[in-house]
Amino acid sequence: MSLLSVEDIHVSFTTYGRTTEVLKGVSLSVPAAQQVALVGESGSGKSVTMKSIMGLLPQAARITQGRILFDGDDLLTMRERDRLKLRGTAMSMVFQDPMSSLNPVWTVADQLSTILKYADRRLGRARDRRGRMARVHEVLAQVRMREPERVAASYPVQLSGGMRQRVLIAMALLSEPRLLIADEPGTALDVTTQAQILKLLKDLVTERQLALLMITHNLGVVRETCAYTYVMHKGAIVEEGRTAAIFAEPQQDYTRALIAAVPRLTGRDAA
């Protein structure tokens, strides 16, 4: 059974009294300890899908149909209390933009330990301040920070873009999730830093047996990190399959055009 399974969800937005359906029956599943990509261009609905899963849809949006099962439980019908117990704990997010996802006036340690405090409280776990700090240093080491103590005591502006992205990954790992949802990780970074972040994510999910749902527009990132891919276009999944198979032999016109549009490192003649 899949750890996460999205079944035929429809989402509508109502603005100025007009209702538009933006997700038209999206189904996808992420098996435990597997890495799955959801790829699409802007407006495809990949972010709305992600927000539906995390329960972060804006007020104007409504899920009109479908189920989202996490470990067999429907996230859409469970009590808010129970959902809160999962969000940020069993399933957590790695956000894209390190600058706007971190509070500039708090140190890394303050931010991470506060998140941990609330996660502990929701799960009914007891951990004192010292215990939380120990855990914060531990996750910073897990994301390969060479000096976790120094990073913990830093403010976000004192860190490079790559290090801030690592802090965001550490934040997602704090309460030992089983599913990571990564929204365009590393796209705001330089290409060499992005490569480091992608390798880190890959190493982490393998080491810790995490399921990963990677949401991105970058087909290269998909190939680097995920064995299975869903291609989204205009609010629907247009193609799914093993990443290698999709990239080698796309079946749908849209996927074919998308792949053909990607510039190749080998140049034009080889593509």
Binding site: E41, S42, R144, D190, V191, T192, T193, Q194, A195, Q196, L198, K199, L200, D203, H217, N218, L219, G220, V221, V222, R223, E224, F247, A248, A257, L258, I259, A260, A261, V262, P263, R264, L265, T266, G267, R268, A270
Partner: protein
């Protein structure tokens, strides 16, 4: 032999580092002795990451920043000290974010007309320019917010072409666009370059795009061109470690491309940063 459309000779620019009270605390060399030549009608790519100095070079070519030393020549004539108005008739720039580089309160036609008026070209050219960038003529009455990202970038290109420049500086012109839109804008730039005999200085961090769009490339690292040559050759056989690291970092979509990426030694199981890799190489060379 005729002079190259763009020639940069030993260009250097340093910026002061200031303390909180405005005192000088040192200097950072943003561009360090850069030289390059771009022949008429050619496409030259400057590849580099943040802090490499590529935008500073673009600004100096545009005449927006004065170099400390060195020279920039357009068609064999130095631009240092030349009146900016005359200069702008020859060199134009297309910026990264068309949403920010177009005035939201001007229609497309008004935006293009500003450029035409400034250089004494007839306002009636707006329609021709829209044709050139393959937008319908009635788009002249639209505002930027009514356009998609790709359409806005086409308007920015039309505006740059209004003065009939010799050289276009393209600063990451497609990095804000979806990949399918990017492909179309690049195709348009190629067509225009061919039809109008334009010369391009193309600035990007996207090496795959660089490989497809440029004939020659210069790899910038900390203000210096560490490697330069025909793009196909540099990519197939990179000589400098930084070029190798850049190429190794590109996420690719096929095995053929993956095979082209050089192997980079891991340091403590991790991909090294540029500094780490270069330090490692230096240490290796010393111990030999």
């Amino acid at each position: 032999m005729s002079a190259p459309t763009l020639e940069i000779r030993n260009l250097t620019k340093t910026f002061p580092i200031r303390t909180a009270f405005g005192g000088k605390a040192g200097a950072v060399t943003a561009v360090d002795d850069v030289s390059l030549r771009v022949a008429a009608g050619a496409v030259y790519g400057l590849a580099g990451e943040s802090g490499s100095g590529k935008s500073t070079i673009a600004r100096m070519v545009m005449g927006l920043t004065r170099p400390d030393s060195g020279d920039i020549l357009i068609d064999g004539q130095s631009i240092i000290g030349v009146k900016s108005h005359a200069h702008r008739g020859r060199v134009q720039m297309v910026f990264q974010n068309p949403g920010a580089s177009l005035n939201p309160r001007r229609t497309v036609g008004q935006s293009i007309r500003v450029a035409l008026d400034a250089h004494g070209k007839p306002a009636a050219r707006v329609g021709d320019l829209l044709d050139m960038v393959q937008l319908p003529r009635h788009f002249a009455d639209r505002y930027p917010h009514e356009l998609s990202g790709g359409q806005k970038q086409r308007v920015a290109i039309a505006r740059a072409l209004a003065v009939e420049p010799r050289l276009l500086v393209l600063d990451e012109p497609t990095s804000a666009l979806d990949v399918s839109v990017q492909a179309k804008v690049i195709e348009l730039l190629e067509d225009l370059g061919r039809d109008l005999g334009l010369t391009y200085l193309f600035i990007s961090h996207d090496l795959s795009l660089m490989r497809n769009f440029t004939a020659e490339v210069g790899v910038l690292y900390r203000g210096r061109i560490v490697e330069t040559g025909p793009t196909a050759r540099v990519f197939a056989d990179p000589q400098h470690d930084y070029t190798r690291l850049l190429l190794a970092s590109v996420p690719v979509i096929s095995d053929e491309e993956a095979a082209l990426r050089p192997d980079i030694p891991l340091i403590n199981g991790e991909l090294p940063t540029a500094e780490e890799l270069l330090a490692l190489r230096q240490a290796e060379r010393k111990s030999e």
